[in-house]
């Protein structure tokens, strides 16, 4: 029996505990009666009530939601195109550069991308008079790094799929465009869907790039969370964390179901 080595299994269990104990504690303490996040003083819903009446937090959440919807959709479209090109077009001028540009944002430290995009927007405001820093610039910044993730998911799906289906459609006289719409697209739709979800998650969670390009008047949810967390632990953040974990779990289950089919 090579397969059931005990050591990896033990580490796996430890790894899951390591991953989930902190999250479980954050959730548990969102129901804590005490102001101190580390002292348990009985069950209470007061922080839930407080968060639901926290106008600043709610409006920040609403803004983040809108930004995430728009940038995830843009990323899905651009990422679909980029992933398709990477998987299907073997040669064109600049192919190497293109491949590098698609991958690099995935690992580039965010402070570097943040400052570079800010300087671009400052420059364009100086010379072109716009766009004003806020919703639009945040959407552009988020789209630029999440489109890479969509492209990778789409490319992976396209590389391990049965090309004879596409060839059959073409042999039967379908134009490349018709083939794409009627054969390829339905087959990779789940990958696009989970790419969209990934882009959405990345956008709604982003702090660093947003902080650089947001301008003075705009505050997204992570920016607000960060400014509150810097001052120490805050039970309302625990409530927010609980909500985010619940939403993420549901979203991931949907995504898993999409890609499994």
């Amino acid at each position: 029996m090579v397969g059931r080595a005990r050591f990896p299994l033990a580490v796996l269990c430890f790894g899951y505990a390591f991953l989930y104990v902190p999250i479980a504690l954050v959730i548990a303490y969102s129901f804590n009666a005490s102001q101190l996040v580390t002292v348990w003083a009985g069950f209470s819903l007061q922080w839930w009530r407080a968060l639901l009446h926290n106008e600043a937090m709610l409006s920040a959440a609403w803004l983040s939601l809108r930004i995430a919807l728009v940038s995830a959709t843009l990323s899905a479209l651009l990422g679909l195109a980029a992933g398709y090109v990477l998987a299907r077009v073997a040669r064109f001028p600049g192919r190497l550069l293109f491949g590098g540009l698609v991958i690099a944002p995935m690992v580039m430290p965010e402070v570097v991308m943040g400052i570079s995009m800010l300087l671009l927007f400052v420059g364009s405001q100086q010379f072109l008079g716009g766009p004003d820093r806020g919703f639009i610039t945040i959407v552009i910044a988020h789209t630029t790094f999440s489109l890479s993730f969509v492209a990778i998911v789409v490319q992976a799906r396209l590389t391990d799929f049965d090309r004879s289906l596409e060839e059959a459609a073409m042999d039967l006289g379908a134009t490349p465009w018709t083939t794409f719409l009627t054969v390829t697209l339905p087959l990779i739709a789940p990958a696009i869907g989970s790419g969209w979800l990934l882009a959405f998650t990345l956008s709604i969670d982003d702090l660093i790039m947003t902080q650089f390009v947001a301008g003075a008047a705009t505050q997204t949810l992570p920016m607000r969370v960060y400014s509150s967390v810097r001052l120490g632990v805050d039970p309302q953040i625990n409530v927010l964390a609980t909500i985010i974990v619940a939403v993420a779990a549901v979203a991931l289950m949907i995504s898993a179901r999409l890609t499994r089919r």
Partner: protein, 278 residues
């Protein structure tokens, strides 16, 4: 077809590549606090000289690289056995086990780091537990030390390590391992001569996915580290937001980019290889 190539290509050139030229231009300028934006363009290398001669900045570079390297290694040591166990689990269980690794990544990064603040604080849950259990009567504080930064990095980046490792281990030809065992090789010898070399691609990809962003990490050293935890991402942030020194912050960004361009190219090659030859 041209439009399909041109659209994402143009987007990435305009919003990803072109801005680096601007960063370089600003980095060669000087700080001008009274004008808006606070920059005077020029051809000065003073910012770069400062970054490589001032002890504080040098220390920040070195400790960023050191922290990134050690925490990447720690992530690998935890992630490899996990990926191995998942790859060897029953086929039907694997998606679930993998999903459990990925799920934290889908929740907020900021909030996962925040979770450790409450755990590691002086009167935090960990210390309470240690005192209550009688294991340690006067536990020290982990929050605000480099230990906390390492913990945070391993915690936040673990999924990025496990996923590529799992992808290569899953495709591994296990009959080779059985053959080695049949021929009398000890499990440890089999691991080092067969499993490890065959999963090298996953190890490289996972390590790069952790190492590259970690070098420039800001949130983790800011929230979990102390005043003596120097990391270059935090230096950039402070120069920009606290000191409003855009040229110096830009110079930091350029140096970080130059430092990481090798690993990034390596990562891109690895990705292209793994995707184009499944």
């Amino acid at each position: 077809m041209r439009a399909v190539i041109a659209l994402p290509f143009a987007w990435l050139i305009l919003f990803f590549l072109l801005p680096f030229a601007l960063v370089l231009a600003i980095a060669l300028g000087t700080n001008a606090p009274d004008s808006a934006p606070p920059v005077e363009l020029g051809w000065s290398l003073a910012n770069f000289r400062l970054l490589f001669t001032d002890d504080l900045y040098l220390a920040a570079w070195l400790s960023s690289l050191r922290i990134a390297a050690t925490s990447t290694l720690a992530t690998l040591l935890l992630g490899y056995p996990m990926a191995y166990a998942i790859a060897r689990a029953r086929f039907k269980l694997r998606p679930l086990l993998l999903m459990l690794v990925v799920l934290p990544f889908w929740t907020s990064f900021l909030i996962r780091i925040y979770a450790w603040m409450g755990l590691l604080a002086e009167n935090g849950i960990l210390n309470q537990f240690l005192r209550w259990s009688g294991l340690v009567s006067h536990p020290g504080t982990i929050l605000g030390t480099e230990w906390a930064v390492h913990l945070g990095i391993v915690y936040a980046y673990l999924p990025f390590m496990v996923l590529p490792l799992y992808a290569t281990l899953e495709k591994l030809d296990w009959t080779l391992i059985e053959a080695a065992a049949d021929l009398g090789a000890k499990p440890i010898a089999t691991f080092f001569t067969i499993t490890l070399p065959l999963s090298l691609a996953g190890i490289v990809a996972g390590c790069l996915m952790v190492f590259i962003p970690t070098v420039g990490e800001f949130v983790i050293p800011d929230l979990l580290g102390g005043t003596d935890t120097l990391m270059i991402g935090k230096v950039l942030w402070d120069e920009f937001f606290t000191n409003a020194d855009w040229p110096l912050a830009s110079a930091v960004a350029i140096c970080l980019l130059v430092l990481l361009v090798g690993p990034i190219v390596l990562f891109q090659r690895q990705q292209a290889k793994s995707l184009e030859q499944p």
